[in-house]
């Protein structure tokens, strides 16, 4: 019943205001119909009670009015359903207003009880037409009253007319504020709808972005050759890529959602590697590229902590790289270096030893030519040994295996050794090899004496090689606080400006062709430069053609704790 009534009253409309008005009109139509039917019922009851009496003229008018109103209601109802806009309510209100004069005696209409009927369309019009419509109906009602009064030679009821307009004013104001409130409410709703739409769209877009991002990350993870396992804060694996599966040769189920400990305890992991992985796990370190052994493979492991936007540690990403080939190459290289180091040097050492024995006439006297020959064998063997040492040093430096080991040493000993090794080469060439230590330098310093000696020997050797007459002078000096220096100055050919940028390059000598004249691989200066930078020092060169060259090495000055006090006092 209720649903049926609702269907009857409801008129579908796009504009919610229109729908509201149409529904209100339908309720009014229904109310009017009920009133008309009640009027009809009253006439019927009266007729039954007084069957003999003829219908009075008033009753006839009333009956006609009821029939007219009922027909009008149906017509307006149809208009209300079919047409949008305010035609139906206007017709309804006009029907009511024009009907009222006929509902009672003229006296009652213009001056009596039926006057109040006119207030109905005035009030209703502002609700179902437009707020201002109340004035229209106040004017219409007044016109009817005035017209009827004048027709009956009565003075129009001015209080009633004033009342109509006052009522119109009140209706207009209240209807207007009602509409405004409704509009505002609708605006708020519309804004809210807009906001919800926008937010929903933004959310959908960000979800989409996240989905794309996740998909991209997954694609990257799936396609890279490095094995990746993502762990949460408790070291439970939350993600692993296919590369890690093929690298470790175990199913992903044995990795994902398992604790890292299970992987570390896996029998394929070499026991020695376990300690490294446990250390990484327990100390939450972020190691880069340490090696582990996994069933015959060498894997390089790197780890990085993951932080959320609030900076909280939420887990660790570990990356495994198959390093088997590289490790093998490295091993072969080390083996090669060791073999070269041992197998080449040992026989050369023997050649040199026998030549020395020959030179020293251990097995009996030898003549001058034989002495000369023995000297040449010794000298060439020494040269060969020097070249091998240079190559080995270069190989070690390239492999990053050459390290600097600090220990206290005496500066004077450094120079003594250089003299011991190179005085003869100098005098053989008719050159003077001189040296000095600046007074304010401490006697003992911390440093890698063997490598410092190598730097000095290489620089002096180089100077001797490119100097034909004059001298080579070595100076150890103290330029400024926390620094000490080595200066090797010669009176040789000098280095052309154009060659300056390349003199520290590997396998290079000035003008390229001079290699044959001066011998050597051109590794000496390159090794010096690398050693100096390993010691956090600097090397500079100043040279003038046909006047000489000066190499200046500056190094951090470190005084051993034990001798610090003496030096500061002095």
């Amino acid at each position: 019943m209720k649903v049926y009534l609702e269907q009857l009253l409801q008129v579908p409309a796009r504009d919610p205001d229109d729908a509201r008005r149409k529904r209100l009109l339908n309720i009014l139509l229904l109310g009017t119909l009920v009133a008309a039917l009640l009027g009809l019922l009253a006439i019927v009851v009266d007729a039954i009670q007084n069957p003999q009496t003829e219908f009075t003229r008033e009753t006839q008018i009333l009956l006609g009015g009821i029939i007219a109103v009922t027909l009008g209601i149906f017509a307006i109802y149809q208009v209300n359903r079919r047409f949008s806009g305010r035609l139906a309510p206007l017709l309804f209100l006009l029907l009511l207003t024009l009907l009222f004069p006929f509902t009672d005696s003229v006296d009652q209409v213009i001056n009596g009880r039926s006057l109040f009927l006119f207030t109905l369309p005035i009030t209703i019009s502002s609700l179902i037409l437009i707020p201002q419509a109340s004035f229209l109906f106040a004017a219409l009602s007044s016109a009817i009253i005035i017209g009827m009064s004048l027709a009956n030679s009565v003075f129009p009821n001015s209080s009633a007319i004033t009342g109509f307009f006052l009522l119109a004013l009140v209706s207009w104001l209240s209807a207007r504020s009602l509409e405004q409130a409704l509009h505002e409410l609708r605006d708020v709703n519309a804004n809210l709808d807009q906001l919800v739409t926008e937010r929903t769209q933004a959310l959908a877009e960000s979800l989409e972005r996240e989905r794309i991002e996740a998909g991209r990350n997954q694609a990257i993870l799936n396609s890279i050759a490095d094995g990746v396992i993502v762990f949460d804060r408790q070291w439970n694996a939350t993600m692993a890529n296919p590369a890690v599966r093929s690298m470790l040769e175990i199913p992903l189920e044995l990795i994902i959602s398992k604790n890292f400990r299970e992987l570390i305890e896996h029998p394929r992991l070499q026991p020695r590697s376990r300690g490294l992985l446990y250390a990484m796990m327990e100390h939450d370190t972020q190691p880069v590229g340490f090696r582990i052994e996994w069933s015959g493979k060498t894997l390089s492991v790197s780890a990085a902590q993951v932080y959320n936007s609030r900076g909280e540690d939420i887990g660790t990403v570990t990356v495994f790289r198959d390093f088997t080939r590289e490790a093998e190459v490295e091993r072969l290289k080390s083996t090669f270096v060791a073999i070269v180091s041992h197998e080449l040097r040992t026989p050369l050492n023997a050649i040199m030893g026998y030549a020395e024995m020959f030179r020293e006439a251990v097995y009996g006297p030898i003549n001058e030519k034989q002495v000369n020959m023995a000297d040449r064998i010794i000298k060439n063997t020494q040269r060969l040994l020097g070249l091998i040492n240079d190559l080995l040093d270069q190989a070690q430096m390239e492999a990053g295996k050459l390290t600097i080991q600090m220990a206290p040493f005496k500066l004077a000993e450094l120079l003594d050794n250089v003299h011991g090794l190179l005085d003869k080469s100098a005098s053989d060439k008719g050159l003077q090899l001189t040296s000095e230590i600046q007074d304010n330098l401490p006697e003992v310093l911390n440093g890698d004496a063997a490598r410092l000696q190598q730097i000095l020997v290489n620089l002096v050797n180089n100077a001797l090689k490119f100097t034909d007459k004059g001298s080579v002078h070595v100076r150890l000096f103290y330029p400024y606080e926390d620094t000490w220096g080595i200066e090797v100055m010669d009176t040789g050919h000098g280095i052309p400006e154009s060659e300056m940028p390349f003199i520290f390059d590997t396998f290079r000598q000035v003008e390229g062709t001079t290699t044959r004249v001066h011998g050597g691989f051109g590794l000496g200066l390159s090794i010096v430069k690398q050693l100096v930078s390993l010691m956090n020092g600097e090397i500079k060169v100043r040279s003038k053609l046909e006047e000489g060259t000066r190499f200046i090495v500056t190094l951090p000055l470190v005084i051993p704790e034990s001798t610090k006090k003496d030096w500061t006092l002095s």
Binding site: S341, H342, R345, T346, P347, L348, N349, A350, M352, G353, Y354, E356, M357, E360, V362, L385, Q405, A407, A450
Partner: protein, 124 residues
């Protein structure tokens, strides 16, 4: 008078050169080429006056022999000279020996050094 010098060196040529240098300055020379045999020799026979010890030896390393000798009072007075091609090895074990000689070792150099080390009253 103990003038015995023990050369522990697996390279025959070097051993022969070292031996010649040592004999030249008046040492009595004994040579062992294998780490294991050297270990037995050190354990069972008299402590030499001087030892030339190569660090790379077959079967038992020079480092192990060095440790053995450090833990044996009989070698307290023995002069130990490490001979190695590896400068780092020399630095590592240098403190446990009296001298370190980095290969290549010159005949003259070894002769001059051992000449200074030999017992004062030994015959040349």
């Amino acid at each position: 008078m103990n003038t015995l010098a023990l050369i522990i060196e697996d390279d025959e040529d070097l051993a022969s050169i070292f031996a010649e240098a040592l004999r030249g300055v008046g040492f009595e020379v004994e040579h062992v080429a294998d780490g294991k045999i050297a270990q037995e020799r050190l354990k069972n026979k008299e402590a030499p006056y001087l030892i030339l010890l190569d660090m790379h030896l077959p079967h038992v390393s020079g480092a192990d022999l060095l440790m053995d000798m450090k833990n044996d009072e009989r070698f307290n007075d023995t002069i130990i000279i490490i001979t190695t091609a590896d400068a780092r090895m020399g630095e590592t074990y240098g403190e446990k020996a009296d001298f370190v000689m980095i290969k290549p070792i010159s005949f003259v150099q070894l002769r001059d050094l051992t000449s200074r080390l030999k017992p004062k009253d030994a015959q040349n």
